[in-house]
Symmetry: C2
Subunit: 480 residues, 2 copies
Amino acid sequence: MGDLKLNHSVENGSASMLNPLDHEEFRRQGHMVIDFLADYYQNIETYPVRSQVEPGYLQERLPQSAPLNPEPIETILKDVQKHIIPGITHWQSPNFFAYFSACGSIAGFLGEMLSTGFNIVGFNWVASPAATELESIVMDWLGKMLKLPSSFLFSGGGGGVMYASTSEAFLCTLTAIRDQKLSVIGRENLGKLVVYCSDQTHFSLKKSVQIAGISPENVRPILTSKSDDFQLCPESLRLAIISDLEAGLIPLYLCCTVGTTSSTAVDPLGPLCDVAKEYRIWVPVDAAYAGSACICPEFRHFLDGIEGANSLSFNAHKWLLTTLDCCCLWVKDPSALINALSTNAEILKNKATEAKQVVDYKDWQMALGRRFRALKLWLVLRSYGVARIRDFLRGHVEMAKHFEMLLAADKRFEVVFPTNFATVGFRVSPSAIPNGEDVNAFNQNLLESINASGGAHMVHAVVGGVCDPTSGALDTEFCS
Amino acid sequence: MGDLKLNHSVENGSASMLNPLDHEEFRRQGHMVIDFLADYYQNIETYPVRSQVEPGYLQERLPQSAPLNPEPIETILKDVQKHIIPGITHWQSPNFFAYFSACGSIAGFLGEMLSTGFNIVGFNWVASPAATELESIVMDWLGKMLKLPSSFLFSGGGGGVMYASTSEAFLCTLTAIRDQKLSVIGRENLGKLVVYCSDQTHFSLKKSVQIAGISPENVRPILTSKSDDFQLCPESLRLAIISDLEAGLIPLYLCCTVGTTSSTAVDPLGPLCDVAKEYRIWVPVDAAYAGSACICPEFRHFLDGIEGANSLSFNAHKWLLTTLDCCCLWVKDPSALINALSTNAEILKNKATEAKQVVDYKDWQMALGRRFRALKLWLVLRSYGVARIRDFLRGHVEMAKHFEMLLAADKRFEVVFPTNFATVGFRVSPSAIPNGEDVNAFNQNLLESINASGGAHMVHAVVGGVCDPTSGALDTEFCS
């Protein structure tokens, strides 16, 4: 199937040769797209940050069917400019402040190019040894940058793997501990397993629990309060566990978060892990957003207590200059993952695997196929170096603190939660809103007018409305 | 968090500015990597196809920790050449005949570059309308190319989505039908759900079943035989279903395959779907490899009966010139997916979603984040056109048939299963092997010597050893 250079007549009559990786054509078209993207970055601030198109806009512009005959790259790039770019919300714009950002970089882009160019499917070691080995090495590098206990590193008996998403990290670790537990208590007790988190935990935890066949009713989102900065309280956790045990249920999994989505709260890992340990609960730490910052010594304390957890994940594709996607997961006990997720298909048998000399990442993840993600993170770390990356992250936090200070000095605004990292939660203060107008509606309208202007893009969050008795209504904040 | 141009002094003392998407630097380094990859393609046949490194080779060559200071791209590319390329098994080599191939192309590569360059996170429509709309449009284009019933297309009430892998297609459809069924019969009956497949079904089905919390013991791999060309037999299916019903179990899901991994067998979709329909079983069709070929009118018959199935998936990243990863799934009933997988987080609320005017793909998949995969498939379809892509696929099948003919004419070899597509299963014939030598061992040794030579890469399969009473031993084949 490999020789792509044979000549076959095409349907439209003209004999021509399709050599899909012709190196000279690759060079010509590749340079064109590099220039196209360089121009895009040069002009990015001229576009409205949030796309201003209406639903269905593209259907009206594109044909109903794929073309029968080839079209030149020049035509296609013109269409990207004319039809795709207006429908893009510009996540790489300096004026994009919505969600958690996806900080791309030249090095991340180049790493992705190399990975796409090699286009290998690194499901096991032998399918491309470099893909597996570089991933293991980079995960150890990154673990050392985070000053993780050696038990999380390959060099210390643990290990790391790159996924597409935090959801996959949840799902794989859940499957691992679920099956470990069921092998002891029997599958018929699946319905008794309980998962703990806080009401600030990202919703993908609950979705992963559900996909894993555990009842959504067995997820315990423990209430947090504004007065506790929305941290998960160890004592509340213990009470919930005791209550479940009394009801005959079985505690399984406790999700702790370092940098929650709505308020960047940091759960107290040490005390929470202490409680979990008593009940033999698996503790995954979700540092999807804020994990990156923890490579700076002054922010490392947010991970204090990590030594008691079972796994840690964070998304290098959020704040660590690595293009989408790259979720890094470390586990202390890879055998828990491997026992649950390994397969042993005849077609994949090979000497290196049988000699147990290698990591086969297919047994650490959901799917068989996998991309060579390690290249882009390797390029990021080498191209910028740890010192400059730290400085880049610090710069963002400094900007956020500066902005928070400006808000605090302006009576029209109020800051809604402490700025731990580079996310600022604020709103127009009720005292600055004309009498009779609804505070939330006023803030919502202001936010929409900013987003509709195209000049900047921010999103809202609701925090503190649930369990803080001092809060009479939901808060609507702009998070930047 | 957006303004990346502020100046911060770095740890090593020199004040310098990290602008990770500086457009001129992007241009310079991007052109370098294009040339690097063009050279790689030019020289690809000079490398051993299967990497010849030993386990642990890279650990010895790279430092133990990430560098503190930046390194120039020139140095990094030299290291890619010197340390990474020797550890790559060259999936893009014309001499790569192992597994199912991953046919990359210039257009697929360029699409991935654009997607990586924009680096948007298209979880819902508003996060980047073009990403959602182009995906829906391209999935309809591709569905029309496959002559799918309109019920699988958005234009006919169904719809399509792009995943990373067939595993995700299995997992999401399993979750959908599992939760639909449990909402009727009660969660306590999860342990009674049964999943059917054949002994030729890809192992990722069983793994997905397990992740979804269904007991692996409730997977029924129905035996196939060489005399039936390894097709799943509808009557055997019915007997298995009846037996399970008598045991008080509940049939849920039947995986049919068009082009199995070991022998490219094609299950008879029509009769199998007829049986499934009687028992209200969800039928996913896995055409991961062979689906691409079905865009050619002369191969479309392999999908006959698809109108009775509930979903169809195939990997455009295998044979349709699209770089990794791009698994295309169509479902007749998107609401089944959406009911099971939707989330409604406050932070993602927006007008377009609330007006139900748009597709939000986060509710069709496992994770929240997602890449802009549609761009690369769109570029492939436009850049080559349907006619030339068909011809490309035909060319591969013609080559395989030609090779099969050469084998058939040579008494030293035997062809082990019919060549339906571009995969040929063959071995050195027992009659050609010196007396006393083990047939499988002889073939294994020959295969290893070919792979060790670096001149070509092929893999083995075992077929026909299980249920074919005429077969005294396992067959070891080279699949190309």
